[in-house]
């Protein structure tokens, strides 16, 4: 049986690991390599690492750091941050990364996705959509550059065309729910789920395993991605890298997943 994936998402800033709230107020939570080592021991399904400086500060991908992360990871790794060209994507895959995520470059020039897929295979091309709800009304808009630039694109319309370009996965990131730990934006996820059959992962809002259970219950095969949940413990948000042990994860999926 194919299982829904439960995936920690790590954010990199100034070579350190941070966790944000609504894409702001980054709090230092540790060393990325050390976190990967702990997640290896916990046998996590996959790992997403996003360098939140790479595009917004214009620094581009830190290939040295990516190489160290990839060498350490014993699970599939998705890297995102500052990727703007076929050459960069190829180089990252060559360093031992399974998937390359694009955001601002994909929004600016969707055909780039096809060019990259031609080189590394579409299964390794991931699009991250950072989505914010408009203050008035129920419309959602895709933002880039760590939430600072509003593309005014509708995530649902954009997602609907992605499969034909050659992608392997969409990661839907709710800026409004980031770090809030009150549950995923299930309505947003449903809107996108309805327009694509590409693998979909959702991030933003998971505050408990029950939130992940709700996501799996509603969508079945999905990537349940979480940041705060897997780096903080308790009401005071003490830093503690954590992840459900295999038996607990199996129980959660058994209880939530209706085939």
């Amino acid at each position: 049986m194919l299982r829904p994936r439960i995936i920690p998402c790590l954010l990199i800033k100034d070579k350190g690991l941070v966790k944000t709230v609504k894409f702001s107020a980054p709090k230092y939570v540790g060393d990325p390599i050390n976190a990967v080592r702990i997640f290896n021991e916990k046998e996590v399904d996959e790992l997403i690492v996003l360098d939140i400086d790479a595009t917004s500060q214009g620094t581009g991908p830190d290939f040295k750091l990516i190489e160290r992360l990839a060498a350490e990871c014993r699970m599939p790794l998705c890297y995102g941050g500052g990727v703007k060209s076929v050459e960069q994507a190829k180089r990252i895959i060559g360093l031992g990364v399974e998937k390359v995520a694009l955001s601002s470059a994909a929004l600016a020039q969707p055909s780039l996705l096809r060019d990259i897929a031609d080189e590394i295979g579409k299964q390794s091309v991931v699009v991250v959509l950072d989505v914010k709800k408009k203050i008035f009304g129920s419309r959602y808009e895709v933002h880039t550059h760590n939430g600072k630039v509003n593309t005014r694109q509708c995530p649902v319309e954009f997602a609907a065309n992605l499969e034909s370009l050659g992608i392997g996965e969409i990661v839907l990131n709710s800026i409004d729910n980031d770090g809030i730990m009150k549950g995923y934006d299930l309505d947003l996820i449903e809107k996108v789920r309805n327009v694509t059959s590409a693998p979909l992962s959702a991030v933003g809002g998971a505050g408990s395993l029950a939130d992940i259970g709700k996501l799996i219950h509603r969508f079945g095969i999905i990537g349940a991605v979480a940041g705060s949940l897997f780096v903080f413990k308790g009401v005071y948000k003490a830093v503690l890298i954590n992840y459900p042990p295999p038996e607990e994860k199996d129980r959660l999926i058994q209880a939530s997943y209706i085939q």
Binding site: Q123, G168, S197, G220, I221
Partner: protein
Amino acid sequence: MITIIDYGLGNILAFANVYRRLNVPVKIAKVAADLANASKLILPGVGAFDHAISQLQQSGMRAALDDLVLTRKVPVLGICVGMQMLANGSTEGRLPGLAWIPGTVKEFDVSRLPTHTHLPHMGWNDVRPVKTSPLFIGLEKDARFYFLHSYYFECETKGYVVAEAAYGDDFTCAVNKDNIYGVQFHPEKSHHSGAQLLKNFADI
């Protein structure tokens, strides 16, 4: 020595890292001369079938590989598209495969899939051996491995099928003929199960 075939595709470093942790020496081969002392071969691969086959041809290693595998019977393990390349060909492309194990690579029939998500088949799935194989020694029943693919290997005869997994229908996810092995999933990214399988291959 275990030699990883580097023809420009696939996660070479991931295999090297797993074997380094297992204290098994490995070598990376980029040209035919690097294959000289190979006692085991790992053939990785990602992306499109034709792209992978033509990259391998362009590497200049093809003739040496045919000699090692078909004449000198050196054990080889194809992984993901590396496994698919062992077949006669693929419906994904036009180029012939290595034709080391008779079979054809086919795309999943999405109308048979029960899930909302179609392709690629991505994530952790149970691998069910259908016969005894040295690859699966010491692994728990229905051990889980990480998959990322849209095409699968259909053997000409059941005799070459070593393990199956289910995605919609059951499909072949491990093959073996003589000294030639292939797995569709990614042992290099499958935690303890993957490390055990790679160790088993080293011990053959």
